[in-house]
């Protein structure tokens, strides 16, 4: 157990309920007390582990197969995590074998694809392991009436967001949805990001994508994320575009606007 030196007793502990920031940690001398110090180290360790956790694509692939969904496994041009972290350009494109594999698939399976779903490890395979299946289940419920044709779920190792555009282009897909592990924060090692492009092709910038961030148990719920995504997809089909020109009005209607709290430092005389 961490000891509590007398000078670390913290008379403003009650401020903690006002913010998730690490306030009122106390002090020993002027330094961080042991408990707070180790709490921080653990949070950082979790984030680091998430960045370096290998993508269990085999596990994900068999879980998806159980639900009747086929998968294709691809690899970006970043050969390993070391290269991935230093060369974002390589993570944004497929390696040669993967690009060929997709071309072959497209030749063998002519016919329109409305939606290609891409799942990439990004900066947190943990996020992808935890949230892919439950999120896709929610998304499927909400798109059941659309009769959108789908490609197999594409799994990408060492992938960055833009690789989805190359995949969409090679498949000739109308829309591409990417599920990717976001950069872990200290208290959020498993945050999933969703990126959506209508008319994907190589070289598109962020301005052509819509992003739904922070999908995780403590963040945006699967249902809400699926609701917003499907709203965007329907709007995109109607207006034939995605990105900055496609406003996420679903967000406006669904986010609770909490009244700002009163500032105790400025109360009274």
């Amino acid at each position: 157990m961490a000891t509590t030196p007398t000078d670390s007793l913290n008379p403003w502990l009650e401020l903690r309920r006002l913010t998730p920031a690490r306030i009122a940690l106390g002090r020993t001398g002027t330094s961080m007390p042991t408990g707070a110090q180790l709490d921080f180290q653990f949070a950082h360790a979790q984030a680091r582990d998430a960045v370096h956790l290998p993508f269990d694509h085999a596990g994900l692939s068999s879980q998806l197969a159980e639900r009747g969904q086929q998968t294709l496994l691809l690899h970006s041009a970043a050969i390993d995590r070391h290269s991935y972290l230093q060369r974002p350009d390589l993570g944004r494109k497929l390696d040669d074998d993967s690009a060929q594999q997709l071309r072959d698939y497209a030749l063998a399976h002519p016919g329109a694809i409305d939606v290609a779903i891409v799942v990439a490890d990004g900066l947190s395979a943990l996020a992808v392991h935890r949230h892919t299946l439950p999120f896709l289940a929610r998304m499927q419920e909400q798109t059941a009436t659309e009769n959108w044709s789908q490609s197999p779920v594409i799994l990408v190792e060492q992938g960055r967001v833009a690789v989805a555009d190359e995949i969409g282009e090679l498949l000739g897909a109308k829309m591409v949805v990417m599920l990717i592990g976001e950069r872990p924060g200290l208290s959020s090692p498993d945050s999933l990001g969703l990126y959506f492009t209508y008319g994907p092709k190589i070289g598109l910038t962020d301005a052509y994508r819509n992003c739904i961030s922070n999908v995780r148990l403590e963040g945006l719920s699967y249902a809400m994320a699926a609701h917003r995504l499907v709203y965007l997809m329907r709007e995109a089909c109607r207006r034939q575009l995605s990105g900055v020109n496609l406003k996420d009005e679903a967000q406006v209607h669904t986010i609770e606007s909490a009244a700002p709290s009163e500032n105790f430092l400025l109360k009274g005389e």
Partner: protein
């Protein structure tokens, strides 16, 4: 354009241009590899450093790394260069300049006089052939003192920006972090918020709130909300009380354009700030943030290495007599600075080059979770920059920025540096801390009050009466 070659033993190394030579002489970092401008191996890097050491400083006035005609930052650098100030070192090579900087001829006075005679490229060049101890030794000779409501940069002082960010800009949440920081003696450089929402209405709310807190508790500090300069100008036009005008800046015209700014717009922001006349001790009021890699990430580096691009941003900064400049060294990620070693070196380079050019440098000593770095690396950089005489660092609750999702120095870290190095806050703030009863400091000893200061006890009582 001149080409350069350097023979070491049997091998001759060739460099296409001054720009190529500068890039290849740069100590290794991931951003230069990403840009494809780095040396191919360690031998080529040191050969480039040897060739660079032989180049006369005056050459940098002849050959612009980014053309004068196409870049307003280059024009600013050349047009404001002071040949009289430069005369003291104009006969030296880059290598000779390093020797001179380390010699006793270079002292606080001579270095201050020299600053307007140096271009960013000269500062960047000499830094590339300096070791960490050189960067520290020369920087600590220099003081760049600025004033608004407090005095920054005096010898023996280390200030902090209290950064009370909150994911939804909630006023009570921000106030809680502010009080936490003040009670740990942080916040003399400024109370500076990165807003989560960028609407003019919420920016004005935050500015009004900071002003009210500073006034009510009579804190000798400055407020800042880190929003685009055009938003600050708009707030000033609406009569909102704003102390420091913020802007992110970079070292090329094209990179600045990607931030939606140019020199004219910065001048407009500077003049808007001056018009308020809110500084009581002085009128340094611009607050700039920079960081190696920003030009490359905007694809606006023109083959110039990231450290040289960064140093050019300090020429932009110094033109507007800033209150403080902050290199946010580890925020950009491992594709630019891969690990603790690269982040530490970059932080020291930036501080050295900025100070040499006469810029009031601070550093956001920080990292992200996908960089190969941790708290120990930050402790190292903090200690080294403390010895080097840095003007200010960040102070946030428990090193964890819950809005921007990265780690920087904590309130506790600032006290560690002050204690071990015998550094104090700005004099006005030191007096306030003592008067209000937070703590008194004698050299490295910090004596906290036995109770919470009455003014803040009262504020907490309001909270209790919810």
């Amino acid at each position: 354009m001149a080409t350069f070659s350097h023979a070491v033993g049997t091998q001759t190394y060739r460099f296409d241009s001054l720009k190529d030579l500068m890039a290849k002489a740069s100590p290794a970092r991931s951003g230069d590899f990403l840009a494809g401008v780095a040396a191919l191996n360690d031998g080529e890097r040191v050969a480039a450093q040897m060739a660079l050491a032989d180049i006369p400083l005056s050459w940098f006035l002849q050959e612009a790394l980014i053309p004068y005609e196409s870049d307003e930052v280059t024009r600013l650098i050349i047009d404001t260069h002071d040949p009289l100030a430069f005369a003291a070192v104009s006969h030296l090579t880059v290598g000779g300049f390093r020797d001179w900087l380390l010699s006793d001829a270079a002292d606080e006075q001579s270095l201050r006089a020299l600053a307007p005679g140096l271009t960013p490229e000269m500062a960047a060049a000499v830094s590339k052939i300096m070791r960490v101890q050189d960067l520290i030794l020369v920087a600590q000779k220099i003081r760049v003192v600025t004033r608004f409501r407090g005095t920054m940069g005096l010898r023996g002082r280390l200030s902090t920006r209290l950064q009370p960010n909150h994911p939804t800009d909630d006023p009570a949440g921000i106030a809680a972090s502010i009080l936490d920081g003040l009670l740990y003696g942080n916040g003399d450089a400024m109370i500076g918020i990165n807003p989560a929402t960028d609407s003019i209405a919420s920016i004005c709310d935050l500015l009004n709130m900071l002003d009210a807190i500073i006034q009510r508790y009579e804190i000798p500090t400055q407020s800042c909300v880190l929003t685009h300069v055009t938003t600050s100008i708009e707030a000033i036009n609406r009569g909102v009380p704003l102390d420091l005008v913020f802007q992110s800046i970079a070292g090329t015209e094209a990179a600045n354009a990607s931030f939606g700014i140019n020199l004219n717009l910065l001048q407009e922001g500077y003049e808007a700030g001056l018009s308020l006349n809110r500084g009581t001790l002085g009128n340094n009021l611009m607050y700039f943030e920079t960081g190696q890699g920003s030009a490359l990430s905007a694809n606006a580096h023109f083959g110039v290495d990231q450290q040289t691009c960064e140093t050019r941003a300090y020429a932009v900064a110094r033109h507007f007599k800033p209150f403080l400049v902050n290199t946010v060294v580890g925020f950009i990620g491992p594709e630019y600075l891969y690990n603790g070693k690269q982040i530490i070196r970059a932080g020291l380079e930036d501080h050295f080059c900025g100070k040499l050019l006469g810029v009031p440098m601070g550093c956001d000593i920080c990292y992200t979770n996908h960089a190969e770095a941790d708290q120990d690396d930050m402790d190292n950089l903090l200690t080294l920059l403390g010895v080097a005489g840095i003007n200010f660092i960040m102070g946030i609750p428990g090193s964890d920025d819950i809005m921007l999702n990265y780690q920087t120095t904590s309130f506790h870290d600032a006290l560690y540096a002050r204690k071990t190095l015998g550094l104090k806050p700005a004099p006005e703030f030191e007096q306030w801390l003592s008067k209000i009863g937070i703590f008194t400091q004698t050299d490295g000893r910090i004596e906290f009050g036995h109770q919470l200061p009455p003014a803040f006890r009262q504020a907490l009582a309001h909270l209790g009466g919810r």
